[in-house]
Symmetry: C2
Amino acid sequence: MSDTIQQNIENSRLDDKLRTMTYGFVGLGIMGGSLAKAIRNRVFDTDGPKGKILAMDIKPLSLQQAVSDKIIDEGFQPCQVRQMLAVCDFVFICLYPGATLDFLIEYRDAFKSGCIVTDISGVKTKIAQTLYSDREKYLRPDVDFILGHPMAGNEKEGYEGSTQTVFQNRNYIIMPDSQNKPENLELLKLLVTRLGIRRIIETDYITHDHKIAFTSQLCHVIASALVDSAEDEQITAFGGGSYEDLTRIALINAPLWTELFLSNQKELISMIENFENSLSKMKGQIAAGDKEGLCKTLSDVRSKRAAMATKK
Amino acid sequence: MSDTIQQNIENSRLDDKLRTMTYGFVGLGIMGGSLAKAIRNRVFDTDGPKGKILAMDIKPLSLQQAVSDKIIDEGFQPCQVRQMLAVCDFVFICLYPGATLDFLIEYRDAFKSGCIVTDISGVKTKIAQTLYSDREKYLRPDVDFILGHPMAGNEKEGYEGSTQTVFQNRNYIIMPDSQNKPENLELLKLLVTRLGIRRIIETDYITHDHKIAFTSQLCHVIASALVDSAEDEQITAFGGGSYEDLTRIALINAPLWTELFLSNQKELISMIENFENSLSKMKGQIAAGDKEGLCKTLSDVRSKRAAMATKK
């Protein structure tokens, strides 16, 4: 049998498993809600045996809405979360970074034996270093915790802003640990592929936090500074799309991004400084009327950006 | 008769005029090509009397393509441009800023008496100050030159990158001069509305260059610096959309933007410095771990950006 055929048979077995598992969402906001919608509509069969989707959230209205949308089978109040965790095969922790770590520690004993647990947090070092610093204390050998980060989102918030299409053609970063079970990593990878993810990047949490400081956090800082420095709110009358595109992510969830920025302070400051140096170089060329130097910088930038596009 | 009915009758008369005029494009690149396509497909009738579209470009292949696309009726080499201008009722100068000014001066005597001439240049002060400094010398009383700027574009270049949809829901800035004829201003405004423009801003060229330094030029500088400061071209593997959105305009036409930046040097430097101050404030809050201050900045930014969106 060829490798491809073997892989297809294996995927078919894993797909059957994905279709019939019980998923649990800890937090049913924009990301939890989007994941739940995508699993319901893109993973579960319309006929035949179905898995279940359960969710816990602090907002009862989100749970009610998700039940009435037929996205989740049952909603749980925070005080009922142990009851939910006890029956879940696959748990997504969709909380802020600090709350994710706190939850994993507090509910260590509540997970179902043999389950997979993953998170979506935008910074990883503190979570990983704490959990791996004392495995016996923080992680159970019969519960497989996999660090994950869907590189997707939009400027909306909450379950009402969630949509199953948000993962389409996006990247998903996973940071496997030496203790993660190969079959569970395969299940997570196949699941996110079924959700529409185009590319899965496997790396370590240090590299993740370094790269994300640039591609995500620096961009949010720049977009915010660009809105902060606007003379007034009428400025978009003079917009041609560029300003709107550059500042869409400035419709920012302030508490979340405060936490993300401060949890990755050192990497982010270093990225801001690299950017400031590039900006300062260009400002110098403009101020000096250095036509040749400026044109060379812009040509190089164009080539570099074009090369990035081909690597998509 | 109500004002609305009167306005509709007047627009209907002007529409008839727009449908039967002879348009001339000086430069049939991305902007000239897009305007020509939009006029052909959105202004001209499919049946009945039609206007004409003529174009001059340095690239014979663009002209051939536009003729074969049935967008223009006839193409002209640069050496034949006087022949073209002699018959045009409505001329769009679609050249770089410096070349626009040079063209207007060199071909002052070639325009058809009574015609409307407009430009699309992204900076205006030098053009306007030169032309208005000595009207007798530079402007003919029987030719109506109107400063205009369609706030639209994309990362493509040349006629092959042009598309009639680029103006859909965009802004168009016009800078009327005391000598412009009211009917000609109305014709230009109705024309761009028919092309899909959502909002027409009337202002003066000084305000234009000030505002554009922020909404357009600063954004291109930031996008370029953000690509310049990237560690490598593989970074987009870690992208979640933000970096891609912020740097799309870094696929920049280097000679054009070098000219735009340097023609508006003082305004642009001042906008870069305002932005640097906002960035530096946020960097300080991140470095100091100032959770409260940073969260306040981000909340304010969110409100300001949301207010901008409602003013769209």
